[in-house]
Protein backbone atom coordinates (compact mmCIF):
# COMPACT_ATOMS: atom_id res chain seq x y z
CA UNK A 1 0.00 0.00 0.00
CA UNK A 2 1.46 3.31 -0.91
CA UNK A 3 2.05 3.58 -4.62
CA UNK A 4 -1.73 3.31 -5.09
CA UNK A 5 -2.01 6.55 -3.20
CA UNK A 6 0.62 8.70 -4.91
CA UNK A 7 -0.18 11.81 -2.90
CA UNK A 8 0.60 9.97 0.31
CA UNK A 9 4.19 9.42 -0.75
CA UNK A 10 5.03 12.98 0.25
CA UNK A 11 4.34 12.23 3.89
CA UNK A 12 7.14 11.36 6.26
CA UNK A 13 5.83 7.89 7.11
CA UNK A 14 6.16 6.82 3.48
CA UNK A 15 9.77 7.91 2.98
CA UNK A 16 11.33 4.42 3.27
CA UNK A 17 8.97 3.23 0.50
CA UNK A 18 10.16 6.06 -1.73
CA UNK A 19 13.84 5.47 -0.98
CA UNK A 20 13.51 1.75 -1.67
CA UNK A 21 11.53 2.04 -4.90
CA UNK A 22 12.90 5.25 -6.28
CA UNK A 23 9.30 6.13 -7.11
CA UNK A 24 7.93 8.71 -7.94
CA UNK A 25 11.58 9.76 -8.24
CA UNK A 26 14.82 8.85 -6.45
CA UNK A 27 15.46 10.57 -3.14
CA UNK A 28 19.14 10.92 -2.29
CA UNK A 29 19.25 13.28 0.68
CA UNK A 30 17.17 14.14 3.70
CA UNK A 31 17.22 16.89 6.30
CA UNK A 32 15.38 15.81 9.47
CA UNK A 33 14.36 18.90 11.42
CA UNK A 34 12.97 18.27 14.94
CA UNK A 35 11.71 14.84 13.93
CA UNK A 36 12.77 11.32 14.87
CA UNK A 37 11.03 8.88 12.52
CA UNK A 38 13.30 5.92 13.35
CA UNK A 39 11.65 5.85 16.78
CA UNK A 40 8.34 7.52 16.17
CA UNK A 41 7.16 6.33 12.78
CA UNK A 42 6.80 2.66 11.77
CA UNK A 43 9.18 -0.24 11.21
CA UNK A 44 12.33 1.17 12.80
CA UNK A 45 14.55 -1.43 11.14
CA UNK A 46 13.23 -0.51 7.69
CA UNK A 47 13.77 3.17 8.45
CA UNK A 48 17.38 2.52 9.42
CA UNK A 49 17.99 0.63 6.18
CA UNK A 50 16.43 3.50 4.23
CA UNK A 51 18.60 6.11 5.94
CA UNK A 52 21.69 4.03 5.25
CA UNK A 53 20.74 4.10 1.55
CA UNK A 54 20.67 7.89 1.41
CA UNK A 55 23.79 9.71 0.22
CA UNK A 56 23.26 12.54 2.66
CA UNK A 57 21.43 12.57 5.97
CA UNK A 58 21.34 15.72 8.06
CA UNK A 59 19.70 15.86 11.49
CA UNK A 60 18.71 19.04 13.32
CA UNK A 61 17.76 18.21 16.91
CA UNK A 62 18.34 19.25 20.51
CA UNK A 63 19.63 15.84 21.54
CA UNK A 64 21.13 12.77 19.90
CA UNK A 65 18.20 10.72 18.58
CA UNK A 66 17.64 7.36 16.88
CA UNK A 67 17.45 9.20 13.55
CA UNK A 68 20.42 11.49 14.23
CA UNK A 69 22.54 8.40 14.91
CA UNK A 70 22.43 7.71 11.16
CA UNK A 71 23.16 11.27 10.05
CA UNK A 72 26.26 12.30 8.20
CA UNK A 73 25.91 15.73 9.73
CA UNK A 74 24.21 16.74 12.93
CA UNK A 75 23.40 20.43 13.35
CA UNK A 76 22.64 20.70 17.07
CA UNK A 77 19.75 23.02 17.80
CA UNK A 78 19.45 25.17 20.91
CA UNK A 79 17.00 24.00 23.53
CA UNK A 80 13.60 25.75 23.50
CA UNK A 81 14.61 27.76 26.57
CA UNK A 82 17.65 29.05 24.67
CA UNK A 83 16.00 30.30 21.49
CA UNK A 84 13.33 32.46 19.88
CA UNK A 85 10.93 30.79 17.47
CA UNK A 86 8.31 32.17 15.12
CA UNK A 87 5.24 33.75 16.75
CA UNK A 88 2.52 31.16 17.34
CA UNK A 89 -1.21 31.71 16.88
CA UNK A 90 -3.96 29.38 18.12
CA UNK A 91 -7.50 30.71 18.02
CA UNK A 92 -7.46 33.87 20.11
CA UNK A 93 -4.09 33.17 21.71
CA UNK A 94 -0.83 34.62 20.42
CA UNK A 95 2.42 33.48 22.00
CA UNK A 96 6.14 33.59 21.41
CA UNK A 97 8.89 31.26 22.48
CA UNK A 98 11.81 33.38 23.66
CA UNK A 99 15.20 32.58 25.16
CA UNK A 100 15.47 32.72 28.95
CA UNK A 101 19.09 31.53 29.11
CA UNK A 102 22.02 31.78 26.75
CA UNK A 103 22.78 28.56 24.87
CA UNK A 104 24.83 26.30 27.14
CA UNK A 105 26.67 24.61 24.28
CA UNK A 106 27.73 25.34 20.73
CA UNK A 107 24.19 25.27 19.29
CA UNK A 108 22.03 27.49 17.11
CA UNK A 109 18.31 28.07 16.93
CA UNK A 110 16.35 26.32 14.20
CA UNK A 111 15.96 29.51 12.23
CA UNK A 112 19.66 30.37 12.43
CA UNK A 113 20.44 26.87 11.10
CA UNK A 114 18.01 27.32 8.18
CA UNK A 115 19.48 30.74 7.51
CA UNK A 116 23.01 29.29 7.48
CA UNK A 117 22.02 26.46 5.14
CA UNK A 118 20.29 28.94 2.83
CA UNK A 119 23.43 31.04 2.65
CA UNK A 120 25.48 27.96 1.83
CA UNK A 121 23.01 27.02 -0.85
CA UNK A 122 23.28 30.43 -2.46
CA UNK A 123 19.78 31.63 -1.56
CA UNK A 124 20.79 33.62 1.50
CA UNK A 125 19.17 36.79 0.14
CA UNK A 126 15.75 35.34 0.99
CA UNK A 127 16.73 34.90 4.65
CA UNK A 128 18.52 38.18 5.32
CA UNK A 129 16.65 39.04 8.53
CA UNK A 130 16.69 37.96 12.16
CA UNK A 131 13.88 36.04 13.79
CA UNK A 132 13.05 39.15 15.82
CA UNK A 133 12.64 41.17 12.62
CA UNK A 134 10.50 38.42 11.15
CA UNK A 135 8.24 38.32 14.19
CA UNK A 136 7.90 42.10 14.25
CA UNK A 137 6.93 42.05 10.59
CA UNK A 138 4.35 39.32 11.24
CA UNK A 139 2.80 41.25 14.09
CA UNK A 140 3.07 44.69 12.47
CA UNK A 141 -0.35 44.89 10.81
CA UNK A 142 -2.12 43.55 13.88
CA UNK A 143 -1.25 46.37 16.25
CA UNK A 144 0.17 43.91 18.78
CA UNK A 145 3.87 44.45 19.43
CA UNK A 146 6.63 41.93 19.88
CA UNK A 147 7.75 43.78 23.00
CA UNK A 148 4.34 43.39 24.61
CA UNK A 149 4.32 39.75 23.62
CA UNK A 150 7.84 39.20 24.99
CA UNK A 151 6.80 40.72 28.32
CA UNK A 152 3.59 38.76 28.69
CA UNK A 153 4.65 35.63 26.80
CA UNK A 154 1.04 34.94 25.88
CA UNK A 155 -1.62 37.39 24.68
CA UNK A 156 -5.34 36.81 24.44
CA UNK A 157 -6.53 38.95 21.54
CA UNK A 158 -9.76 40.02 19.91
CA UNK A 159 -10.14 38.04 16.67
CA UNK A 160 -10.81 39.85 13.40
CA UNK A 161 -13.26 37.14 12.40
CA UNK A 162 -14.43 35.34 15.51
CA UNK A 163 -15.18 31.63 14.83
CA UNK A 164 -18.77 30.69 14.09
CA UNK A 165 -19.25 27.31 15.73
CA UNK A 166 -22.79 26.99 14.37
CA UNK A 167 -21.30 26.06 10.99
CA UNK A 168 -18.73 23.46 9.93
CA UNK A 169 -16.11 24.58 7.41
CA UNK A 170 -17.49 22.48 4.54
CA UNK A 171 -19.43 23.40 1.40
CA UNK A 172 -22.72 22.35 2.96
CA UNK A 173 -21.85 23.89 6.34
CA UNK A 174 -22.45 20.49 7.92
CA UNK A 175 -20.23 17.50 8.76
CA UNK A 176 -20.08 15.46 5.58
CA UNK A 177 -20.08 11.68 5.74
CA UNK A 178 -20.62 11.41 1.98
CA UNK A 179 -17.95 13.07 -0.18
CA UNK A 180 -16.37 12.56 -3.61
CA UNK A 181 -13.00 13.32 -2.05
CA UNK A 182 -13.12 10.13 0.02
CA UNK A 183 -13.49 8.04 -3.14
CA UNK A 184 -10.67 9.90 -4.91
CA UNK A 185 -8.42 9.31 -1.92
CA UNK A 186 -8.70 5.54 -2.01
CA UNK A 187 -11.84 5.13 0.11
CA UNK A 188 -15.54 5.05 -0.75
CA UNK A 189 -17.89 8.00 -1.31
CA UNK A 190 -19.84 6.99 1.78
CA UNK A 191 -17.59 6.54 4.82
CA UNK A 192 -17.56 2.85 5.50
CA UNK A 193 -15.82 0.23 7.57
CA UNK A 194 -12.62 -1.25 6.14
CA UNK A 195 -11.55 -4.43 7.89
CA UNK A 196 -8.04 -4.38 9.31
CA UNK A 197 -5.47 -6.55 7.59
CA UNK A 198 -4.57 -8.31 10.84
CA UNK A 199 -6.67 -10.06 13.44
CA UNK A 200 -5.66 -11.23 16.92
CA UNK A 201 -5.94 -14.95 16.13
CA UNK A 202 -4.22 -17.89 17.75
CA UNK A 203 -1.72 -16.60 20.26
CA UNK A 204 -1.50 -13.16 18.63
CA UNK A 205 -2.69 -10.02 20.39
CA UNK A 206 -3.39 -6.66 18.77
CA UNK A 207 -0.74 -4.09 19.67
CA UNK A 208 -2.14 -0.71 20.69
CA UNK A 209 -0.22 2.33 21.84
CA UNK A 210 -0.78 5.79 23.20
CA UNK A 211 0.70 8.36 25.52
CA UNK A 212 0.92 9.01 29.21
CA UNK A 213 1.07 12.51 30.57
CA UNK A 214 4.45 12.26 32.29
CA UNK A 215 6.52 12.22 29.09
CA UNK A 216 6.12 14.07 25.78
CA UNK A 217 6.20 11.71 22.83
CA UNK A 218 9.65 10.23 22.34
CA UNK A 219 11.95 13.00 23.40
CA UNK A 220 11.76 13.49 27.16
CA UNK A 221 12.62 9.97 28.31
CA UNK A 222 16.17 11.03 29.19
CA UNK A 223 15.22 14.08 31.29
CA UNK A 224 16.33 13.15 34.83
CA UNK A 225 13.27 14.52 36.64
CA UNK A 226 10.89 12.76 34.25
CA UNK A 227 12.98 9.60 34.04
CA UNK A 228 12.67 9.35 37.81
CA UNK A 229 8.88 9.49 37.51
CA UNK A 230 8.61 7.04 34.63
CA UNK A 231 11.83 5.28 33.64
CA UNK A 232 10.24 2.73 31.35
CA UNK A 233 6.94 1.86 29.74
CA UNK A 234 4.86 -1.17 30.60
CA UNK A 235 2.86 -3.58 28.48
CA UNK A 236 -0.77 -3.50 29.59
CA UNK A 237 -2.09 -7.05 29.35
CA UNK A 238 -5.41 -8.48 30.50
CA UNK A 239 -5.31 -11.09 33.32
CA UNK A 240 -6.70 -13.84 31.03
CA UNK A 241 -4.06 -13.27 28.38
CA UNK A 242 -1.38 -13.02 31.05
CA UNK A 243 -2.40 -16.22 32.79
CA UNK A 244 -2.46 -18.11 29.48
CA UNK A 245 1.16 -17.09 29.02
CA UNK A 246 2.24 -17.61 32.66
CA UNK A 247 2.93 -13.91 32.95
CA UNK A 248 2.66 -12.20 36.32
CA UNK A 249 2.46 -8.50 37.00
CA UNK A 250 5.98 -7.08 36.80
CA UNK A 251 7.48 -9.92 34.74
CA UNK A 252 9.60 -8.90 31.78
CA UNK A 253 8.16 -10.13 28.49
CA UNK A 254 9.13 -10.30 24.82
CA UNK A 255 6.76 -8.60 22.43
CA UNK A 256 7.48 -9.71 18.85
CA UNK A 257 6.24 -9.92 15.31
CA UNK A 258 7.79 -10.30 11.85
CA UNK A 259 9.33 -6.82 12.07
CA UNK A 260 11.06 -6.91 15.44
CA UNK A 261 11.30 -8.00 19.04
CA UNK A 262 11.11 -5.75 22.09
CA UNK A 263 11.55 -6.40 25.83
CA UNK A 264 9.17 -4.73 28.26
CA UNK A 265 7.75 -5.06 31.75
CA UNK A 266 4.23 -6.46 31.96
CA UNK A 267 1.40 -4.68 33.77
CA UNK A 268 -1.47 -7.05 34.30
CA UNK A 269 -4.65 -4.96 34.30
CA UNK A 270 -8.37 -5.12 33.71
CA UNK A 271 -8.03 -1.88 31.78
CA UNK A 272 -7.38 -3.49 28.39
CA UNK A 273 -9.31 -5.83 26.09
CA UNK A 274 -8.29 -9.48 26.54
CA UNK A 275 -7.25 -9.66 22.85
CA UNK A 276 -5.12 -6.52 22.90
CA UNK A 277 -1.98 -5.21 24.57
CA UNK A 278 -1.01 -1.55 25.00
CA UNK A 279 2.18 0.33 25.59
CA UNK A 280 3.08 3.97 25.98
CA UNK A 281 5.01 5.37 23.01
CA UNK A 282 8.51 6.80 23.21
CA UNK A 283 10.59 4.23 25.03
CA UNK A 284 13.12 1.58 24.05
CA UNK A 285 15.63 4.33 23.33
CA UNK A 286 18.46 3.12 21.11
CA UNK A 287 20.77 6.07 21.75
CA UNK A 288 23.69 5.27 24.08
CA UNK A 289 24.28 8.99 24.74
CA UNK A 290 20.86 9.08 26.42
CA UNK A 291 22.43 7.51 29.48
CA UNK A 292 19.29 7.18 31.53
CA UNK A 293 16.77 6.19 28.89
CA UNK A 294 19.07 3.91 26.86
CA UNK A 295 17.41 0.50 26.48
CA UNK A 296 14.74 1.29 29.06
CA UNK A 297 11.36 -0.06 28.04
CA UNK A 298 10.22 -0.95 24.55
CA UNK A 299 9.86 0.89 21.25
CA UNK A 300 6.43 0.30 19.76
CA UNK A 301 7.58 1.90 16.50
CA UNK A 302 9.83 -1.10 15.86
CA UNK A 303 6.77 -3.31 15.48
CA UNK A 304 4.48 -1.34 13.11
CA UNK A 305 4.59 -2.05 9.38
CA UNK A 306 4.70 0.96 7.07
CA UNK A 307 1.03 0.82 6.22
CA UNK A 308 -0.34 3.96 4.54
CA UNK A 309 -4.09 4.11 5.11
CA UNK A 310 -6.63 5.25 2.55
CA UNK A 311 -8.20 8.72 2.63
CA UNK A 312 -5.94 10.29 5.27
CA UNK A 313 -2.63 8.72 4.25
CA UNK A 314 -1.85 8.25 7.92
CA UNK A 315 0.26 5.42 9.27
CA UNK A 316 -1.97 2.46 10.16
CA UNK A 317 -0.25 1.77 13.47
CA UNK A 318 -3.21 -0.04 14.99
CA UNK A 319 -3.25 -2.72 12.31
CA UNK A 320 -0.60 -4.96 13.79
CA UNK A 321 -0.52 -8.02 16.03
CA UNK A 322 2.24 -9.43 18.19
CA UNK A 323 3.12 -12.49 20.23
CA UNK A 324 3.84 -11.97 23.91
CA UNK A 325 5.82 -14.37 26.05
CA UNK A 326 7.72 -14.25 29.27
CA UNK A 327 11.33 -13.16 28.71
CA UNK A 328 13.69 -16.08 28.98
CA UNK A 329 10.81 -18.56 28.63
Amino acid sequence: MGTELPLSLGSIQALPLVVESGKPYPVKAGIFFRINPVKSSGDSARWIRALQQLELVVAIDTQMSETAMYAHYILPESHYLERMDVVSVTGDTVSVRQPVVKPMYDTKSGYEIIQGLAKGAGVGEYFNFTIEEYNRAQLGPTGWTLDALKEKGVLKVAMATPPDYSKVATQSGKAELVHEGFAKSGGTKVVGWVAPKTQPEGDRLRLLHGHQAVHSNGYTQNVPALYARMPENELWIHPTAAKARSIKDGDYVEVANELGKERIKAKVTEGIRPDCVWMCHGFGTMVPEQHLAYKQGANDGALYPILITPVTGALGQGDVTVTVRKAGA
Binding site: A225, A228, R229, H238, T269, E270
Partner: protein
Amino acid sequence: MTHYAYFIDLSVCAGCESCTVACQNKNGLRPELAYTKVHRYETGTFPDLKSSFVVNQCLHCDEPPCAEVCPTGATYKTVEGPVLVDYEQCIGCKYCIVACPYDARVFDEEQRTARKCTECADRLVAGRKPACVETCLTGARVIGDLDDPKSPIHEALKRPGTVQMAGTGFYFRLPEGITKDALADGGGTGVVRAWQSVLQPAGQLIMGGAAAALLASAAAFAVKSVKGGGTGHGHD
Protein backbone atom coordinates in the same frame (compact mmCIF):
# COMPACT_ATOMS: atom_id res chain seq x y z
CA MET B 1 -6.79 33.83 61.93
CA THR B 2 -5.38 31.91 58.97
CA HIS B 3 -6.57 28.38 58.60
CA TYR B 4 -5.64 26.58 55.37
CA ALA B 5 -7.58 23.88 53.58
CA TYR B 6 -6.23 22.05 50.52
CA PHE B 7 -8.42 20.58 47.78
CA ILE B 8 -7.52 18.27 44.90
CA ASP B 9 -10.08 17.54 42.18
CA LEU B 10 -9.11 14.04 41.07
CA SER B 11 -11.77 14.10 38.36
CA VAL B 12 -9.56 16.47 36.37
CA CYS B 13 -6.12 15.23 37.42
CA ALA B 14 -4.27 14.23 34.25
CA GLY B 15 -1.55 12.23 35.98
CA CYS B 16 1.17 14.41 34.43
CA GLU B 17 3.13 14.63 37.69
CA SER B 18 4.11 18.23 36.99
CA CYS B 19 3.26 18.87 40.64
CA THR B 20 5.90 16.38 41.70
CA VAL B 21 8.55 17.97 39.51
CA ALA B 22 7.62 21.58 40.37
CA CYS B 23 7.83 20.69 44.05
CA GLN B 24 11.21 19.01 43.61
CA ASN B 25 12.42 22.07 41.78
CA LYS B 26 11.21 24.48 44.45
CA ASN B 27 12.60 22.45 47.34
CA GLY B 28 15.88 21.38 45.75
CA LEU B 29 14.96 17.71 45.92
CA ARG B 30 16.83 15.05 43.96
CA PRO B 31 14.63 13.22 41.41
CA GLU B 32 14.47 10.17 43.70
CA LEU B 33 12.80 12.14 46.53
CA ALA B 34 9.22 13.28 46.08
CA TYR B 35 6.90 15.05 48.51
CA THR B 36 3.86 14.43 46.36
CA LYS B 37 3.23 11.39 44.24
CA VAL B 38 0.60 10.39 41.70
CA HIS B 39 -0.46 6.87 40.84
CA ARG B 40 -3.21 5.23 38.81
CA TYR B 41 -6.02 3.49 40.66
CA GLU B 42 -8.26 0.90 38.99
CA THR B 43 -11.35 -0.90 40.17
CA GLY B 44 -13.69 -3.35 38.51
CA THR B 45 -13.24 -5.95 35.80
CA PHE B 46 -13.15 -5.46 32.05
CA PRO B 47 -15.28 -3.96 30.55
CA ASP B 48 -16.78 -2.38 33.69
CA LEU B 49 -13.65 -0.62 34.73
CA LYS B 50 -13.26 2.63 36.60
CA SER B 51 -9.93 4.30 37.05
CA SER B 52 -8.58 7.52 38.45
CA PHE B 53 -5.31 9.22 39.11
CA VAL B 54 -4.78 9.55 42.84
CA VAL B 55 -2.45 11.91 44.65
CA ASN B 56 -0.62 10.91 47.81
CA GLN B 57 1.17 13.48 49.91
CA CYS B 58 1.44 14.92 53.39
CA LEU B 59 -2.01 15.92 54.60
CA HIS B 60 -0.74 18.16 57.40
CA CYS B 61 -2.78 16.26 59.96
CA ASP B 62 -4.54 18.07 62.78
CA GLU B 63 -2.75 15.78 65.26
CA PRO B 64 0.26 14.55 63.33
CA PRO B 65 1.65 11.20 64.46
CA CYS B 66 5.04 12.31 63.12
CA ALA B 67 5.17 15.18 65.58
CA GLU B 68 4.06 12.90 68.39
CA VAL B 69 6.94 10.47 67.92
CA CYS B 70 9.65 13.02 67.21
CA PRO B 71 12.14 12.77 70.10
CA THR B 72 13.45 16.31 69.68
CA GLY B 73 10.37 18.26 68.66
CA ALA B 74 11.97 18.97 65.29
CA THR B 75 8.68 18.21 63.57
CA TYR B 76 5.78 20.38 64.67
CA LYS B 77 2.31 21.54 63.69
CA THR B 78 1.86 25.27 63.05
CA VAL B 79 -1.26 27.21 63.97
CA GLU B 80 -2.00 28.03 60.34
CA GLY B 81 -1.88 24.39 59.36
CA PRO B 82 1.39 23.27 57.76
CA VAL B 83 3.42 20.61 59.59
CA LEU B 84 7.08 21.56 59.35
CA VAL B 85 10.57 20.24 60.13
CA ASP B 86 13.31 22.22 61.87
CA TYR B 87 16.43 20.71 60.31
CA GLU B 88 18.65 22.04 63.10
CA GLN B 89 16.84 19.83 65.58
CA CYS B 90 16.38 16.73 63.47
CA ILE B 91 18.71 13.91 64.51
CA GLY B 92 17.74 11.59 61.67
CA CYS B 93 16.17 8.84 63.79
CA LYS B 94 13.43 8.20 61.18
CA TYR B 95 10.67 7.61 63.75
CA CYS B 96 8.54 10.12 61.85
CA ILE B 97 8.96 8.30 58.58
CA VAL B 98 7.74 5.09 60.18
CA ALA B 99 4.87 6.81 61.97
CA CYS B 100 3.37 8.66 59.01
CA PRO B 101 0.15 6.94 57.92
CA TYR B 102 0.45 8.40 54.40
CA ASP B 103 4.10 7.52 53.74
CA ALA B 104 4.57 11.18 53.01
CA ARG B 105 7.96 11.84 54.54
CA VAL B 106 11.36 11.22 53.00
CA PHE B 107 14.84 10.84 54.39
CA ASP B 108 17.49 12.92 52.69
CA GLU B 109 20.72 10.89 52.91
CA GLU B 110 22.91 13.86 52.05
CA GLN B 111 21.34 16.20 54.56
CA ARG B 112 20.85 13.34 57.09
CA THR B 113 17.43 14.65 58.11
CA ALA B 114 13.81 13.86 57.48
CA ARG B 115 12.14 16.14 54.95
CA LYS B 116 8.56 16.74 53.98
CA CYS B 117 6.04 18.90 52.22
CA THR B 118 5.87 22.31 53.91
CA GLU B 119 2.70 23.33 52.07
CA CYS B 120 5.13 25.97 50.74
CA ALA B 121 4.55 27.86 53.98
CA ASP B 122 7.11 30.46 52.90
CA ARG B 123 5.21 31.15 49.67
CA LEU B 124 1.85 31.27 51.47
CA VAL B 125 3.18 33.89 53.85
CA ALA B 126 4.25 35.97 50.82
CA GLY B 127 0.76 35.72 49.31
CA ARG B 128 1.77 33.17 46.68
CA LYS B 129 0.51 29.67 46.02
CA PRO B 130 2.44 26.47 46.70
CA ALA B 131 4.49 25.29 43.71
CA CYS B 132 2.21 22.31 43.10
CA VAL B 133 -0.95 24.44 43.04
CA GLU B 134 0.62 27.03 40.77
CA THR B 135 1.91 24.42 38.32
CA CYS B 136 -1.10 22.12 38.15
CA LEU B 137 -1.97 22.03 34.47
CA THR B 138 -5.66 21.24 34.93
CA GLY B 139 -6.35 23.43 37.92
CA ALA B 140 -7.08 20.35 40.00
CA ARG B 141 -5.29 21.76 43.06
CA VAL B 142 -6.77 24.56 45.15
CA ILE B 143 -5.54 25.95 48.44
CA GLY B 144 -7.25 28.63 50.48
CA ASP B 145 -7.82 30.20 53.85
CA LEU B 146 -11.11 28.97 55.29
CA ASP B 147 -11.33 32.14 57.34
CA ASP B 148 -11.24 34.30 54.21
CA PRO B 149 -14.80 34.50 52.80
CA LYS B 150 -13.41 35.53 49.40
CA SER B 151 -11.16 32.50 49.01
CA PRO B 152 -11.89 30.18 46.04
CA ILE B 153 -11.54 27.22 48.44
CA HIS B 154 -15.15 27.60 49.54
CA GLU B 155 -16.53 27.02 46.05
CA ALA B 156 -14.11 24.15 45.46
CA LEU B 157 -15.22 22.30 48.60
CA LYS B 158 -18.81 22.43 47.44
CA ARG B 159 -18.15 20.40 44.29
CA PRO B 160 -20.09 17.12 44.32
CA GLY B 161 -18.09 14.06 45.26
CA THR B 162 -15.77 15.95 47.59
CA VAL B 163 -14.64 14.06 50.69
CA GLN B 164 -12.53 15.18 53.60
CA MET B 165 -9.56 13.12 54.77
CA ALA B 166 -10.40 12.47 58.43
CA GLY B 167 -8.27 14.37 60.90
CA THR B 168 -6.82 16.72 58.27
CA GLY B 169 -7.59 19.88 56.34
CA PHE B 170 -7.33 17.98 53.05
CA TYR B 171 -10.20 17.36 50.65
CA PHE B 172 -10.34 15.19 47.53
CA ARG B 173 -13.02 15.33 44.87
CA LEU B 174 -13.58 11.78 43.66
CA PRO B 175 -14.51 11.08 40.04
CA GLU B 176 -17.87 9.44 39.41
CA GLY B 177 -17.82 5.75 40.20
CA ILE B 178 -14.75 6.02 42.42
CA THR B 179 -15.15 5.60 46.18
CA LYS B 180 -12.93 6.51 49.11
CA ASP B 181 -11.27 3.11 48.66
CA ALA B 182 -9.06 4.83 46.11
CA LEU B 183 -7.59 7.06 48.79
CA ALA B 184 -5.09 6.22 51.52
CA ASP B 185 -6.92 5.02 54.62
CA GLY B 186 -4.58 6.69 57.05
CA GLY B 187 -4.64 3.60 59.23
CA GLY B 188 -1.91 1.97 61.28
CA THR B 189 -1.58 4.83 63.73
CA GLY B 190 -3.09 2.77 66.54
CA VAL B 191 0.26 1.15 67.27
CA VAL B 192 2.00 4.52 67.08
CA ARG B 193 -0.45 6.22 69.45
CA ALA B 194 -0.33 3.21 71.82
CA TRP B 195 3.45 3.29 71.77
CA GLN B 196 3.54 6.98 72.64
CA SER B 197 0.60 7.29 75.02
CA VAL B 198 0.59 3.90 76.72
CA LEU B 199 3.73 1.82 76.31
CA GLN B 200 6.36 4.45 76.79
CA PRO B 201 4.76 6.03 79.86
CA ALA B 202 4.05 2.53 81.24
CA GLY B 203 7.67 1.55 80.77
CA GLN B 204 8.85 4.64 82.54
CA LEU B 205 6.36 4.02 85.30
CA ILE B 206 7.69 0.50 85.78
CA MET B 207 11.24 1.80 85.95
CA GLY B 208 10.13 4.42 88.41
CA GLY B 209 8.38 1.75 90.40
CA ALA B 210 11.52 -0.34 90.51
CA ALA B 211 13.54 2.66 91.65
CA ALA B 212 10.98 3.39 94.35
CA ALA B 213 11.03 -0.22 95.53
CA LEU B 214 14.77 -0.32 95.90
CA LEU B 215 14.82 3.02 97.69
CA ALA B 216 12.22 1.70 100.08
CA SER B 217 14.29 -1.42 100.61
CA ALA B 218 17.45 0.57 101.25
CA ALA B 219 15.56 2.78 103.68
CA ALA B 220 14.17 -0.24 105.49
CA PHE B 221 17.61 -1.68 105.98
CA ALA B 222 19.00 1.68 107.08
CA VAL B 223 16.32 1.95 109.70
CA LYS B 224 17.04 -1.59 110.84
CA SER B 225 20.75 -0.93 111.27
CA VAL B 226 20.11 2.36 113.09
CA LYS B 227 17.81 0.49 115.44
CA GLY B 228 20.75 -1.86 116.01
CA GLY B 229 19.07 -4.96 114.75
CA GLY B 230 21.75 -5.80 112.21
CA THR B 231 21.10 -6.50 108.62
CA GLY B 232 21.78 -10.21 108.63
CA HIS B 233 19.14 -12.84 108.50
CA GLY B 234 21.19 -15.54 110.21
CA HIS B 235 23.44 -18.06 108.55
CA ASP B 236 24.60 -21.43 109.83
